[in-house]
């Protein structure tokens, strides 16, 4: 059953898009990430123009994150104060990133920056996560005790000014690292068309040293605020948000996100991280390796005449 998208001006297969939304929503709810890094390439693969895919994805990610954050909030697994600090940085980063992306599109180098960002960030993060989680799984299999948790936090986290208390996370740290982290993720989200959870989650665990129980809910909160802003900015500046496409995606997405959030409790944390690491690594390599191979068609039509 095909349906015509009024903004994208193409016809897509409706059940396929709903299924895609459900699949990505499931992954999103399971791992506490937006899932944009998967959704954007998949939509482009199925023929949706890239700018429309990136922009409409923001609505979908906001909706599926919204549906899972409420469940986390009910379990008191969201650090509202930390989420607000991250989002404040994210808002600045999103504005900067949208402008940067406009300039890159004018120069015709947006594709390159997107591909390199995917390759670099997804490969590094996927690789690190895989290394760490595979080590944890192996140790558990061999019956070794987990390595002693290094509670000694990096000195610079304590050395910086503007300290703030985060009672939910039992942290008393400077607001500068979370602000910078939020801003970095905001820029990344505008350039790569993603929510940025795949950067936030590991950074919150390994750099901010937040308790594991707080990480997913808090990153979802930051993602909702950043993608909501990105979605409105994209609609206002570029008129590239297709509400029909977004609705199809989120019909599947919200259901998938609920199922994913439930499924996540059946797996061990390190197994979840290992699976996510593999997905991240595969998408990063798939997107980035195109740079190294001779393309079948050397010419590429670009959307929009601007």
């Amino acid at each position: 059953m095909d349906i015509y998208l009024p903004i994208a001006e193409v016809a897509v297969n409706a059940p396929l898009i709903v299924g895609l939304g459900a699949l990505v929503g499931f992954i999103s709810g399971m791992f506490g990430i937006g899932g944009g890094f998967l959704m954007t390439p998949l939509l482009v693969f199925f023929g949706v123009p890239a700018p429309v895919a990136v922009s409409s994805m923001a609505n979908h990610v906001a909706a599926s994150s919204m549906s899972s954050v409420i469940a986390y909030g009910r379990r008191r697994a969201v650090d509202l104060r930390m989420g607000a600090v991250l989002a404040a940085g994210g808002i600045v980063g999103a504005f900067a990133g949208v402008e940067l992306f406009r300039v890159l599109r004018l120069l015709g180098q947006a594709d390159l920056v997107v591909a390199v960002s995917y390759l670099v960030f997804l490969s590094i993060i996927g690789g690190l996560m895989l290394w760490e989680s595979a080590g944890a799984i192996l140790r558990r299999r061999r019956g070794q005790p987990p390595p002693p948790r290094r509670d000694r936090r990096p000195v610079w986290l304590y050395g910086l000014p503007l300290k703030m208390r985060f009672p939910r996370s039992r942290l008393y740290i400077s607001v500068i690292p979370p602000l910078l982290l939020g801003a970095f993720v905001g820029v990344l989200s505008a350039i790569m068309g993603v929510g940025g959870g795949f950067v936030l989650v590991p950074a919150m665990v390994y750099i901010l040293r937040m308790p594991a129980g707080m990480v997913v809910g808090t990153s979802l909160m930051q993602i909702i605020i950043t993608t909501a802003l990105t979605g409105v900015l994209q609609a206002g500046r570029n008129q590239t948000v297709d509400i029909v496409l977004a609705t199809l995606l989120l019909l599947g997405g919200v259901v998938g996100a609920q199922l994913g959030a439930r499924a996540s409790s059946r797996f061990r944390a390190e197994e979840l991280r290992a699976i996510l690491a593999l997905i991240v690594l595969l998408v990063g390599l798939r997107m980035g390796l195109g740079l190294f191979f001779r393309p079948d068609e050397p010419f590429v039509l670009m959307s929009g005449a601007g």
């Binding site: 609505n59 015709g108 500046r237 008129q239 977004a246 190294f292 050397p298 010419f299 670009m302 005449a305």
Partner: protein, 262 residues
């Protein structure tokens, strides 16, 4: 009068054509783009009147509204395949289809086809090449002069990519004579066809020369909800963006409430 011609209908006997002429009509003059739009097939019927009975060829050219094309070429730099600066082709039609009853090269010579823009090789996007080809580098428009040598590669890439999207097409047998003097052509519009006014030129050639031409227009327009959303998104983009985001967040919240088990 040609003895081979069938008896003309009464209407034609009133005003018998004195020279060869072509006439045609579209089965539909408006294509409505709705949510189930998957492209459309429009049939064009026409007739050739020729008191002299000379053999004639019919060419049907359908052009959509102009859509500037922005194209880039991947180049190998330091082992990586990178995009070159994009080149803009102004005045390329958003849809183009040339149909004829036999290969265009057999119907008329190069100059005549070029003059009429008949056929993908003669499509007018290549007109004043250097002036029309600009790159938008940063915010300035720059006229490109060094494109000259490989200009043909760029132009044929535009045609090739548009053909792949079913937006450009050339069909040597797209015009079929169903009866003496009566012909039929089909225009297949893909779902990605741009909205706007299309122009169909029906050309009659005899001995390689254009002897008669007719033009018909076809309107492709969005209707109903599709049109309302499109207009809203373009006329009031900020309220559209806010509303669609609010809708998305509400759906997310509603789903969470619906799935609540405790």
């Amino acid at each position: 009068m040609a003895p081979a011609l069938p008896p003309a209908p009464p209407l034609l006997q009133i005003q018998p054509p004195t020279t060869a002429a072509v006439s045609a009509a579209l089965t539909e003059t408006t294509v409505q783009v709705k949510s189930d739009f998957r492209g459309a097939r429009i049939v064009l019927y026409g007739a050739v009147f020729d008191p002299g009975g000379h053999p004639g060829d019919v060419v049907v050219i359908v052009r959509g509204p102009d859509q500037p094309v922005r194209i880039t070429r991947k180049q190998r730099i330091a082992g990586l395949w990178l995009n070159s600066r994009p080149v803009v082709f102004q005045g390329a039609p958003g849809f183009y289809r040339a149909a004829s009853n036999r290969p265009l090269d057999d119907i008329a010579n190069f100059g005549e086809l070029r003059r009429l823009g008949a056929g993908l090789d003669h499509l007018a996007i290549n007109a004043p090449a250097e002036q029309r080809t600009v790159t938008r580098y940063g915010v300035r428009d720059v006229v490109v002069s060094q494109l000259g040598a490989d200009y043909y590669d760029w132009r044929s890439a535009v045609v090739r990519l548009k053909e792949k999207a079913h937006l450009y097409d050339e069909d040597d047998h797209g015009v079929r004579f169903v009866d003496r003097g009566l012909f039929r052509a089909e225009i297949a519009l893909p779902a990605a066809a741009p909205t706007g006014v299309y122009r169909a030129d029906i050309l009659l050639f005899q001995h390689g020369r254009l002897v008669s031409a007719r033009a018909r227009t076809l309107t492709v327009e969005k209707v109903g909800l599709e049109r309302a959303l499109y207009v809203w998104a373009h006329v009031r983009p900020w309220s559209y963006g806010l509303a669609s985001m609010a809708f998305a967040l509400a759906v997310g919240w509603a789903a969470s409430a619906a799935f609540r088990r405790d």
